[in-house]
Symmetry: C2
Subunit: 502 residues, 2 copies
């Protein structure tokens, strides 16, 4: 048979008509979605606008107290008219410096290995992945098992679904009761689910568990979840919870069951005894712990004093560390041996602050002189830069006349457990103060309540000739000699891996 020519033409005309109709409909639908506003030429605008802020604007963008707090490869410390700058490696002779640098680098690398540093770059999630999963907060104790919340698959319909999960520091399992044909690898590092039943797949995922199998502390396992070409990873943190170390305040909550007073003395027995007498005027039964590295031991007639002797001149921070190591109450009040309690020296106020806030340490003021300083750290490969500025960060919630800062005077109440955790470095034998707060940076939240005031004994020399001689010896030890300054700068260089400070 042959095609009728006229029918062929008719078919052709109908096709052309349909094609034309389709085109019109298509154009109409596109028009619905276009912007009501006239658009400028699209690509030219984009090219013009894909640029970053110029350097001058960036420089001033993220500063605090004039210090740029934004990641950079190198930090620096610049001296100005109102602040000094210390370059810590200057503490070493040029001849010994290369060897010191090498040793510091070796010790720093050991430290980093043990801390799991440097951290791997952040784990990024791609868009439009067909998975639900836990972004943050899944923690498991070593060798324990936890359920993994939030796992789900919401990909396109398919005849068969195959989903694989992979862990490295643990194994996977599911609480769902299904045969091995559907789930393979139960109790292994890799678990695969194969099913055509989407509901079943999600039920299995909903009841997935992670078991930590390597006994380690402080690790993060990145578990991957994949199906066809889509992959997500999510973190499971392997760690112990913090073990509580609580103190019983006793049924009557007496101050002596909450607070111990701690101090250190050296070649100033008269000053210490004067301070002790002033304590007893207001607090007759608080335990006072005193560490003494003088030549001759003291005889103290006070049944609530705990007295400790040390090798002669062992040192200031060693004595501080000794004293706090002996405290058995929740809080410890640090005082220097030449302070004077008066009726503004309200320990109860400081206790109230620590009971009601998140502070670890709260300082008062000495003779009403408010001494507070902030510490700001800039990280850098060759050693960090530390900046110290007077003042505070912000007021303390609930205590409007108190502030949050980084460092205070040597009159403070502290959580014993937190204070012991940071400690006073016994390598600091003579003059030292801010080193303690630097060691505590990030660990101790420090506050200051200047209205709680302690007095200070006058610096006039003692009348008694024996005591006067003792005081002269004391002053000799107390002088911040050049050698001591060098020692402390070198310690900052090596111990804290610092480059410089302002």
């Amino acid at each position: 048979m042959t095609w009728c020519r006229s029918e062929f033409l008719r078919l052709l005309m109908i096709s052309v008509f349909l094609l034309g109709l389709g085109t019109v409909v298509f154009m109409f639908r596109s028009a619905e979605f276009s912007s009501p506003m006239p658009e400028r030429p699209h690509s030219a605008l984009a090219d013009q606008m894909l640029k970053l802020l110029p350097e001058e604007r960036l420089k001033n963008l993220f500063t605090y107290d004039g210090i740029r707090l934004f990641p950079k490869n190198q930090c620096k410390c610049e001296a100005t008219t109102w602040q000094e700058s210390y370059n810590f490696q200057d503490a070493y002779d040029l001849s010994e410096l290369p060897a010191v640098k090498a040793r510091r680098q070796a010790e720093f690398e050991h430290f980093q290995r043990r801390e799991g540093l440097p951290r791997p770059p952040p784990l990024l999630a791609q868009p439009n992945l067909p998975f639900g999963y836990p972004v943050h907060g899944v923690e498991v104790m070593p060798l324990h098992t936890v359920p993994i919340p939030g796992l789900q698959f919401e990909g396109p319909e398919a005849p068969i679904y195959e989903v694989t999960l992979t862990a490295s520091l643990g194994t996977l399992n599911t609480l769902a009761d299904i045969p091995d044909s559907v789930v393979q690898g139960r109790g292994q590092k890799q678990l695969t689910i194969s099913t055509s039943d989407r509901k079943l797949l999600n039920f299995i995922l909903q009841h997935l568990t992670y078991t930590s199998t390597v006994y380690l502390h402080h690790k993060v396992d990145f578990v991957s979840l994949e199906s066809k070409s889509s992959v997500v990873k999510f973190p499971v943190t392997i760690c112990y919870p913090v073990i509580p170390k609580l103190y019983d305040p006793g049924p009557e909550r007496k101050l002596r069951d909450l607070v111990t007073i701690a101090t250190k003395t050296f070649l100033r027995p008269h000053k210490f005894m004067t301070m002790l007498r002033s304590i007893r005027e207001y607090y007759p039964d608080l335990i006072v712990i005193v560490a003494d590295d003088s030549k001759e031991p003291l005889k103290i007639n006070d049944k609530h004093v705990e007295y400790y002797t040390m090798p002669f001149g062992k040192g200031w921070f060693a004595g501080r560390n000794l004293a706090i190591s002996q405290v058995t109450t929740k809080y410890v009040l640090w005082v220097d041996d030449d302070f004077l309690f008066n009726n503004n020296t309200k320990i109860e106020v400081l206790v109230d602050v620590l009971e009601k806030t998140e502070l670890d340490v709260v300082g008062g003021s000495v003779l009403g002189n408010v001494f507070q300083f902030k510490l700001l750290l800039q990280k850098s490969q060759n050693g960090d830069c530390l900046h110290r500025r007077p003042g505070s960060f912000r007021p303390l919630d609930g205590f409007p006349r108190c502030v949050v800062t980084s460092g205070v005077v040597n009159f403070f109440l502290a959580h014993t457990e937190r204070l012991q955790r940071v400690g006073f470095d016994p390598r600091l034998q003579r003059v030292a103060h801010s080193e303690f707060f630097i060691d505590g940076l990030g660990s101790l939240l420090v506050g200051s309540c200047p209205e709680v005031i302690i007095g200070h004994q006058a610096r006039s020399p003692a009348a008694d000739p024996e005591l006067a001689t003792l005081e002269k010896t004391y002053s000799a030890f107390r002088t911040n000699t050049r050698n001591q300054v060098r020692f402390k700068l070198a310690l900052h260089y090596f111990k804290n891996h610092l480059q410089c400070s302002t």
Copy 2:
């Protein structure tokens, strides 16, 4: 014109043929994806299979050493023929127990507030969200700024894109140089991007920054990213990095610049002197720190001994805490005052282990007796359950004859800084040992290398009558009286918030 009937029939036959061909092709393609095995009826199977494993199987699923390590509301301690069980609240009189419970609960709540516990439930990501974002690893120091990596929008095409980011403990900004008509809220808690240019949107997101504005330690801010009805949240951790506390081993890496020996003695001067002499046979110049809470001070003629006196009978752990508080080297070797160094007592081997592994503490063996125990914790609302089992978790990487465990003997080398951070609780005055390892659970990674052996002085009474009397007094203090046992159980109840142990 009219249709030719024959042409109509021809068209009809061609259509039927094409339809049939299409069906065959479709069925063939489906067949490619279906399982090679025959499937049972689909929906009936699903309903039948959405169940969890039965209780008997679950019970045995996640056990280690017979202890179930899976979260449960209540834990328990069961005594068996080979292990005892202690219920800690039995240490209190029934009359005082309610008050003790209330005080413990108050102290525990204070502890939790300060630690940010309990943690919020895990943050879950929904599937198919059109965003890329950082799942894990974005950290910022308080008051600092960090770039946020990985942010992108890959949603459907639209005339205008509007994306909003919201933070709570900080502010948001972008390094992109664009006018305020496109980005609003720069330097605020909420930042909104409105543009029709998708590339520009993603450029802005690529250069987004987070600035911490509240001075706090250890917090997590959950930043939300939303567009239309899609929302993701991702965590930004606000914390300081760990401040290094490194020790300079000196240019010659002498053992005395790496290791200090620490011990405590009480009413056993002859034993201590014997031990000291044995040290000096092998290590003539290592510093030995000794804390002494005896009645009479010792005279020690050794220029490398640092001697400290304490109030009489102040206590065992107080003395241990004192001694370690004075160490100025990277490592400290703990020994008891009645040990005996011999030529198997190789401190260098223990140093090598700590230098090369992640251990914080490595113990040896005393007289070749290997003493190791594991600690397993089960958390519970009313107090945790602690289980102690002999043995170890696994061998130590790189040291096949050493193992990883939770507790060892009193002969160990430790990282000074880590040991000081856990410390020995001065509330433990008399017999105590595992309490230190319990306090260190999760903080101290402990190992044991039994091949490093120290000797032990015989327990036979001294010949000298004065010393024999002293020994009798010592033994009286050393007896684990019922009161002391009660005290320690009560301490576990209150201080560590434990319920019981096996």
